[in-house]
């Protein structure tokens, strides 16, 4: 991993980069002393936020735009799990391999379904690089890294679909299908989170639902994926002001009980790091 080169490149694209990341500089410095593979592996999610101008990703504005946006994410997930499942020795046989295979099958089905709906309007599959230019060298050789990236993809997917629902307002066929994919991604996210919890270590306290902004145990590097998940206000109502079982609803429960959307721009920045061309 050549982090300094990455920063050089970003500075070229975005001269104000250094000023803006100062709060995060500590996190980057700390990385040097960390040995956890997961932390290193997840770094691209942090860096990718900064590639905004380099990638110039545009948010969808119509139904086909949303479908192609969804298709791009599904291509990413389908290929990721396909490669993971086919890598001998990566995923323990038995239930873990069974679960990842189930998820792979769904993502492959999503790709097929969206391509069918879009017909000749479907975008082509990009060329992915899950090592993100070598940074992720162990993604298909280290099981914990593989699961951490999978969780990041699933939680991102849930947020991504939610963020585009408004464009599909009232569309019986497309909105319903999008919601049907969206809840499957949430089921995946729930299960992957349980798989990580079972692995223990930094993921030992993982829950199937998201608590606050970044509960992954991975570190601040994945903050962009969970930014805003700590929201406790819904439609002007502060959930922590409502009566719970005993006393008010806790902040943790308030954040868990509502998943938040993520803008297309933020999602494309996250996905963009894994897209070679």
């Amino acid at each position: 991993m050549n982090l300094l080169n990455v920063f050089e490149q970003i500075n070229t694209v975005d001269p104000e980069f250094s000023d803006r990341i100062s709060p995060r500089r500590e996190a980057i410095k700390n990385l040097a002393s960390m040995t956890g593979k997961v932390t290193l592996a997840a770094l691209p999610f942090f860096v990718s936020e900064l590639f905004k101008k380099a990638y110039g990703a545009t948010a969808p504005t119509d139904v086909n735009g949303v479908l192609n946006y969804a298709l791009t994410l599904e291509y990413l997930e389908a290929e990721y799990y396909t490669m993971g499942v086919s890598k001998a020795g990566l995923i323990p046989s038995g239930r873990p391999l069974g679960a990842i295979t189930t998820i792979r099958d769904h993502e492959v089905a999503h790709v097929k379904f969206l391509k069918q709906v879009l017909g000749n309007k479907a975008v082509a599959k990009p060329t992915f690089d899950f090592t993100a230019g070598g940074t992720f060298a162990n993604v298909f050789s280290d099981y914990d890294t593989f699961l951490a990236v999978a969780q990041a993809f699933e939680d991102t997917g849930v947020r991504a679909y939610k963020g585009q629902a408004g464009i599909l307002l009232g569309n019986r066929v497309v909105l319903t299908a999008a919601l049907q994919i969206h809840s499957v991604e949430a089921r995946h996210a729930s299960h992957i989170r349980q798989m990580r919890r079972a692995r223990g270590g930094g993921a030992a306290n993982q829950k199937p639902w998201i608590t606050g902004a970044n509960d992954t145990g991975i570190g601040a590097v994945v903050n962009p994926i969970y930014a805003g998940e700590d929201n406790v206000k819904q439609a002007g109502v502060d959930i922590t002001s409502l009566n719970g079982s005993m006393g008010k609803i806790s902040t943790g429960a308030a954040t868990q009980s509502f998943d938040e959307p993520l803008s297309a721009e933020a999602v494309l920045n996250i996905a963009g790091l894994f897209i070679k061309a």
Partner: protein, 240 residues
């Protein structure tokens, strides 16, 4: 509830007179023929109402309202049911409940209470009152029965939000539904894994296109009917 009688209104004289509501009634009649018994419990009255003024609802049960308000009350009703179930579950843990199960069931209880209270506040004066529920058929001392019921409720909740999404007119309400449904799906997956690890998204709920279940409000309410004692008036609830 008045008796379900054949639809004897005069046929509309032109296409524009066939409003959505008439179409809904016709679908409803078809459905009612198949399961009149369960609908009687709900006190559904759409097929017997001749007035469309939205005013005469006295004595027909808790009125959900129309349009988006009705859909929010529909969600509020389901969240009331889920919250009541998990409150009772946490208060009466089955023997052998693990620490993790206890912790996660408590989390889920709090999520459902948060949803319930949110809808109540958001709906304000338009909120239906608290439903009288019937959970007597659930054996809370049986892990198997509790998990099976939780699975039913969570999968039903997911299918309800998925199926009602396109009926929502206000994008803000749609987003709220989206924020809640994925949490219900996270619950559903966990509960299913507690029953059988790996069944989080099996073929019972995900089809060959990789799509989760979506159900119309009418179908969902019919499934929830055995648990709802209060008479409800969903005559103006958008459905299909």
């Amino acid at each position: 509830m008045e008796k379900i009688t054949p639809h004897n209104e005069a046929l509309p004289t032109n296409d524009s007179a066939i409003d959505k509501k008439d179409l809904r009634r016709r679908d409803f009649l078809k459905f009612a023929g198949a399961s009149a018994a369960s609908l009687a419990i709900l006190g559904l009255s759409s097929c017997s109402k001749d007035d469309d003024d939205g005013m005469d609802h006295g004595g027909k049960g808790l009125y959900f309202g129309s349009g988006d308000i009705a859909i929010l009350n529909y969600a509020y009703a389901l969240e009331q049911l889920e919250a009541a179930f998990y409150i009772q579950l946490v208060n009466n843990p089955y023997s052998g409940m693990t620490d993790m199960e206890k912790a996660f069931f408590t989390d889920i209880r709090d999520h459902e209470i948060a949803h319930r209270e949110f809808f109540k506040v958001a709906l304000g004066a338009k909120a239906i009152s608290s439903l009288e529920l019937n959970l007597s058929g659930i054996n809370f001392s049986s892990r198997e029965n509790v998990l099976a019921t939780a699975k039913t409720f969570e999968d039903l909740g997911v299918s309800a939000y998925n199926g009602a999404g396109w009926l929502i007119k206000d994008p803000n309400y749609l987003l709220l539904a989206g924020k809640i449904v994925s949490v219900e799906a996270r619950h559903a997956a966990w509960v299913r894994d507690m029953i059988d690890n790996g069944s989080f998204a099996n073929m019972e709920v995900v089809d060959s296109n990789g799509l989760d279940v979506a159900k119309s409000p009418t179908v969902v309410l019919s499934a929830a009917a055995p648990f709802i004692k209060s008479k409800i008036d969903v005559s103006d609830l958008p459905t299909y």
